[in-house]
Subunit: 338 residues, 2 copies
Amino acid sequence: MNPTIKDVAKKANVSTATVSRILNGLPGYSEETKKKVTEAIAELGYQPNAVARGLINKRTQTIGVLFPDVSGMLSSEVLEGVERAAHDAGFSVIVCNTASSGSRTIKYLRLLQEKRVDGIIFASENIKDEYAAIFSEMKVPVVLVSTESQKHTLPFVRVNDFEGAFSAAEFLIKNGHCKIGMIGGSFDDPIAGVPRMNGFKEALSKNGIEFEPNMLVANEGYRFNDGKNSLPKLLQQFPEMTAVFAASDELAIGAMSAAHEMNIKVPEQLSIIGYDNLKISEMCYPPLTTISQPLVQMGEKAGEMLTALIDGKEKTAESIYLPFEIVERLSVINRCKQ
Amino acid sequence: MNPTIKDVAKKANVSTATVSRILNGLPGYSEETKKKVTEAIAELGYQPNAVARGLINKRTQTIGVLFPDVSGMLSSEVLEGVERAAHDAGFSVIVCNTASSGSRTIKYLRLLQEKRVDGIIFASENIKDEYAAIFSEMKVPVVLVSTESQKHTLPFVRVNDFEGAFSAAEFLIKNGHCKIGMIGGSFDDPIAGVPRMNGFKEALSKNGIEFEPNMLVANEGYRFNDGKNSLPKLLQQFPEMTAVFAASDELAIGAMSAAHEMNIKVPEQLSIIGYDNLKISEMCYPPLTTISQPLVQMGEKAGEMLTALIDGKEKTAESIYLPFEIVERLSVINRCKQ
DNA sequence: TCTAGTTACGTAAACGTTTACATTATACGT
DNA sequence: ACGTATAATGTAAACGTTTACGTAACTAGA
C-alpha cells in the first residue's frame, strides 16, 4: 500500500523515531541524517497517515459544523468563513445538514463524537437541552454562530438582532416614514424572531409612534414565499403604510415581488428594508437597502475562536457581537426630500 | 478519558474480540453475553472510536469535496445533494474551498490524502494534469460534478451544456424572436463557456439565422456584475435585439438589473432567459425563465456514484448527463401572440 | 583522566480497534 | 462412548504513528 514511516526508516537506515522527529521538527538529529531521511521520503513519495496520528495524539485536526440548511444563502456564507479560518489554523471541516431536525442533529453529534472531531460549530439554531448534554459529554469546545443560549453558557458570535432591528426601523423613521409595517419571523424563535420584533417596536416607541398589532405580520419562516404572502396581508390590515421592515432579505425580496405584482412602486410608493445583506440583496431590483450581517466574517471569527480554544491558546472564549451596518441601496426613499 | 472497548470488555467479563463482534454484528456470541455487553456499553456510555477503526480498516467513511467557491449558490446546492447522499451511505463530507486556485487545490488534495478520505468529489472546475496525477496516486475513486475531462477519463455527472444552450436559444426562437443576443462566459472555459456558446450558435443556424459576432459578448466570469455590464455593451452592438440568452442566472439577473436601469421593460421590450435555475431566479422580478440544472440532484447522484464505487458495489461508474429542463417563468414574452 | 552534560540516536510501548487463529465446550450421529 | 462438527469465546498481532526512556558517543571542564 502506501509507504509508511517504517519504510522510510528502513530506506534511510534509521529508526522510525528519528523519522518522526524529523517530520515533526523535534530536536535530536544531525543535518546528515535529516538529509538521508528527506531523500527517502521524496523517493518513496511518503505521506504521513493522519489517521494513525490522530489515534495517538487524540487530535484529528478536524472540526464539525452543523447547519440547519447547508444550501441556504446564509449558511453558505458562514460556511465559507468557517472553512477559511479552520483551514488557516490547520483544521478540516466536516459539514452536517441538520435540516432543523432534532433527531438528525443528535445523530450528527454522535457521529462527530465517534469521529473524534476536535471541536464543533453550531449555527443558526436554538440549543436544546439534549444538544447541550451531548456537548458537555463530548468534552470538546463548541462555539455558536448566529445563535446563542443563555441557559447553556456557550460562546457565540453573532450580531445584536435587537439593535439591528432597532436601527432598521429608526432608519425608516429618519427617512420620514411614520407608518411603518413589519414582516417578521416567528414568536417562537427566540433567536431571530422575537428580538427583531422587539427592536422594531422599541424604535417606534422611542420615536413617539405607538405600535399597533396590525402593523406586524409574523411568519413561520424567513423565506421568499413567506414575504410574498405577507405583504398583501400587511397592506390590508395597515393600508396607510409607507415603509416595511422585513426580518430577512428573503422576506424583503418576497415582499418586493408582491409589490411588483400589485403594481406598487418600490421605493416610490413603498420603501422596504431587509435584514442580512445576502448576495441577492444587491441583485434584485431595486437593490435592497438592508441591515448587513457580516456573515463570512462571523463564520471566520467563530472558526478562529474554536481553533484557539482547541489549541488551548484561549482558556475560555469571549462571546462577541459583531457590528451590523446599514447598507443603503435603493429600496428606501426619503420622504422629507420629496 | 472516553471508555474504550477494553473497559466494556472488562465490565462485561468478556474479551474485546467478543465486544467487537457484537458491535459489528458478526456471528459468534450468545444472546446472554450480548445482553451483558449491551448493558455494559450503556452504563459506560461507550462510543466506538472511528479513528482507531479507520486505522485498521483502512476506511475512514469520509469523502472530500472540492469547490471553487463554497458560498456560491451553485456550489451550495450541489453540496446539499452530496452531503445527503454521502450521509445516507454512511459517509461524512469534508468541504474544501479551492477558490479556483491551483496551489490551493493541490494543498487540499494532499491534505485529503493524509486524512485518508475514501473518495473525492471534484466540482465545477477544469481538471489540470497535475490534479489527475494526484488522483491516480491516491488510488481512491473520484467523481466529477458539473465538469468533465476527456483527457483524463473520470466519471462525471452533469448536464449537457451544448444542448441546454441550444434549447434555450431555440425556446426564444419558438417564441417568435429572431434577433437574439447572448451574454456568454469565457472562451477559455471548456466546461461552461464554449459549449454554451456553441449550443447557442447551433440553434440559430439550425433555424436559419446567421450568427454574427456582434450578437455575443463574452465574459471572464458568470457573475451578476458581468451580466450587468454586458447588457449595455450588447445592446450597443446589436440594437435590434429582442431577446437575450445569458449563460448563467447571475448573468441574466445582472442583465435584468441593467435593463431596469435603462428603463427597458422585461419582458415587454426585452426577453431574457438564464441558465442554472438557482433559487434566486424565482425571486427576482420578473421571475426568470431559465434552463434548470438539477443541482442538488446532481450532487446527490455524484455522492451515490462515489459511495457505490468506494463500497465496491460498482466496478466502474457510468458517467451521466442529467436532463435539464426549461422552466418558464415570466421573463420571456411570446412575440407571435402579441 | 575522570565526571557530567549534551547530542544523536534506537527500543518498545501505547493509542483503540479488528481479526486470524487457537481453544474450549456443546451437541450430535453412530 | 467416541469422534466430529459447531458454537462461543479468548489471545495476540496488526494498523501507522508518537514518545518516554535508555544508551552510546562525544564534549568540556576540572
